[in-house]
């Protein structure tokens, strides 16, 4: 890879050296195997069914892994180790907000969202909002779809930067080549991963990364023991301070910034669709346990990887801190094993980008096009437009990746994707499930204000610097406030707006009926003798529940293809939906015939 025709395209040479060819060969083989299994699974749907039936016991495990794997993106694999490499042990606080926020999401959102979206058969968050808030005007759906498109597009761009960075550091190719190749692979993978075995590939890739984050620190530990003394010697005492050597307001805002990351959990739709797609409501508890244990290992492991990188390579020795994880992997593991781990890291980024690109695509095609422009569009048309939109959004994400390629992946994800979704969508998700008084107007206002605050706060220090009004570091409170992670103020402002505007406007009618769903077993709603079968407020007009269940069973042998609608759509469903991430997961679930004894 370091000579011949590729030479003009290369930069200073990849860190992988001779192992680079192993990494690329393993990655290529990995993709071939993944595609092969996907094609094989799609042809013999019994196998998909078998897989999920085998998951009668591991179903929640797959869900728990998948929920976490959707975040096992560039941020966790490259970003958090880079953060630890730059700041020291304070990087352990990346879990400070995320872990409890994720637990609260499983405890307070998962079951309610799963039950409600089952009853109303929503497969996207905008459709869920529209139904729950009784919004006939389409404003909630349109605004939330635009927000999803914007920030999920940013997420995809960040994954492309991460994939491009990894390719660049491994092989030494120019950054723009890395981004183009990363972009092509991500968009191509979305076509494949979007239709084949998404949950399975998430599970598999997540498992490899998780094992890597266990093995790497263990191997490093056997070589040099705990890293803290070496870290202090190499990077100074601040690297082994839980506040990174900061005190007073600087430390307070530093800790707040880490804790505020967790506020993004409820607003990120690629996490919420995992809640919607879980096989049984009662499995939420086990899935939560799996996801949480996953987080413990991943966050501790990722931070330790960054610390061991300081101990082994020295502080500031890596030109790009994002190289910390791949460098340690190549140093500690044999070439072929390192190839598998880095290939899985690359694949995990693409898998995340796949989920996010599909969510953004569904926001455009299902929520905007199908919801507003052509309500009678056929399934074929919607799938075809989905492909066009995937290409368009993918190309836009590549362009964004070019513009943002010099921004660290850690901040790129937090500022331009995670934070925006958290501030704009999160308050509405929580309120629609827990607060009867929330209104469509309150939700729309919250989304607009949350988005604007997040975008402006991210640029605040730059703008204040231009006009000469940036507070000096000696003014600790004001400096800390301006530089705090934008999601903290944006979430507060968004919630305040939602509450204020909702209280000034009229809530939808029949809210009590909607909330009845939350406090009963699902079977009490759909199997009750006096139940009409399906609630009146279903999004697609509804079909009789018994027919829906029998339809799901009847479809099970072939439920992996586009028509296999695990949300119950059948011949009487006159409102076909574009394929979404939730459709994919539910199709797997339908193949297992879980719906037949769903509770």
């Amino acid at each position: 890879m370091h000579s011949g025709a590729l030479a003009p395209l290369q930069g200073s040479g990849g860190i992988a050296g001779a192992a680079g060819i192993w990494v690329l060969a393993t990655f290529a083989l990995y993709l071939v195997v993944l595609v092969g299994i996907g094609l094989w699974a799609s042809r013999f749907m019994d196998s998909v069914g078998d897989y999920v039936i085998g998951g009668r016991e591991i179903g929640p495990v797959v869900t728990g892994f998948s929920e976490r794997a959707s975040e096992m993106s560039g941020w966790l694999t490259l970003g958090v180790p880079a953060d630890a490499y730059g700041t020291g042990i304070m990087a352990f606080l990346n879990g400070l907000g995320m872990i409890p926020a994720d637990l609260f999401a499983w405890a307070g959102i998962a079951k309610r969202l799963r039950k409600y979206t089952e009853i109303v058969r929503s497969v996207t968050l905008p459709t869920f909002f529209e139904t729950r808030l009784g919004d006939d005007t389409g404003r909630v759906k349109a605004v939330s779809a635009l927000v999803l498109m914007l920030f999920e597009g940013g997420y995809v761009g960040a994954q492309i930067v991460a994939a491009g960075t990894l390719l660049q550091v491994l092989t030494g190719i120019q950054p723009w080549i890395g981004i183009i190749v990363g972009g092509i692979i991500v968009i191509g993978y979305t076509f494949l991963g979007g239709y084949f075995a998404v949950a399975w590939s998430d599970y598999f890739q997540g498992a490899i990364i998780l094992i890597a984050f266990i093995i790497l620190p263990v191997l490093a530990f056997t070589e040099m023991g705990l890293p803290f003394e070496a870290v202090a010697a190499a990077a100074g005492d601040s690297a082994t301070s839980i506040t990174a050597g900061m005190a007073g307001w600087a430390a307070v805002f530093g800790v707040i910034s880490y804790a505020a990351i967790g506020l993004g959990v409820p607003g990120n739709p690629h996490i919420m669709v995992r809640f919607m797609g879980i096989d049984k409501v009662r499995n939420v508890r086990l899935a939560a346990m799996v996801a949480q244990l996953f987080m413990f290992v991943a966050y501790v492991g990722a931070a330790l990887v960054g610390l061991y990188a300081i101990a082994m390579f020295g502080d500031g020795a890596l030109a790009d801190p994002d190289n910390a994880m791949p460098r340690l992997t190549l140093d500690l593991l044999p070439s072929v094993v390192a190839g598998i781990v880095l290939a899985a890291a690359l694949a995990a980024m693409m898998s995340s980008a796949d989920s996010q690109l599909l969510v953004a695509t569904s926001a455009v095609v299902e929520d905007v096009y199908h919801g507003f422009l052509d309500r009678d569009a056929s399934q074929e048309e919607l799938v075809r437009y989905s492909r066009y939109v995937t290409f368009g959004l993918g190309a836009a994400s590549v362009a964004f990746a070019f513009v943002a390629k010099d921004t660290p992946i850690y901040t790129l994800v937090l500022d331009y994707a995670w934070g925006g979704l958290g501030a704009a969508i999160g308050p509405t998700v929580i309120a629609t499930l827990w607060w009867k008084r929330v209104t469509a107007a309150g939700s729309v206002a919250s989304m607009i204000v949350g988005t604007a605050t997040m975008v402006l706060w991210t640029q605040l220090s730059t703008v204040l610097g231009w006009v000469g009004m940036m507070p000096p570091e000696s003014a600790a409170f004001w400096y800390g406030l301006v530089t705090v992670y934008g999601l903290f103020p944006a979430f507060i402002v968004s919630v305040s707006t939602l509450v204020t505007v909702s209280l000034l406007t009229e809530p939808p009618e029949n809210v009590d009926e909607h909330f009845d769903v939350f406090d009963k077993p699902l079977s009490a709603i759909i199997d009750a003798e006096d139940s009409p079968g399906t609630a009146e407020y279903v999004t697609d007009g509804g079909v009789d529940e018994s027919r829906r269940l029998s339809s799901a069973n009847r479809n099970s042998p072939s439920s992996g293809d586009v028509d296999a609608r695990a949300d119950g759509g059948d011949a009487t469903d006159t409102s076909p939906k574009a394929l979404t991430e939730a459709d994919n997961i539910r199709a797997h679930v339908a193949a297992s015939e879980y719906w037949a004894d769903d509770d």
Partner: protein, 43 residues
């Protein structure tokens, strides 16, 4: 590393682990109670 730094690293994870166990047990009991009540209502 000072004791405070160690506490800052280990403390939150220990608390979160306890929270997880409490949630798992509490949610299981709540679910059983909900199911039992539903069965009694339909008995």
């Amino acid at each position: 590393m000072s004791t405070l730094d160690w506490l800052g690293v280990v403390g939150p994870y220990a608390i979160f682990f306890v929270m997880l166990i409490v949630y798992y047990v509490w949610e299981g009991r709540r679910e059983r109670a909900l199911r039992k009540q539903y069965e009694e209502d339909h008995a």
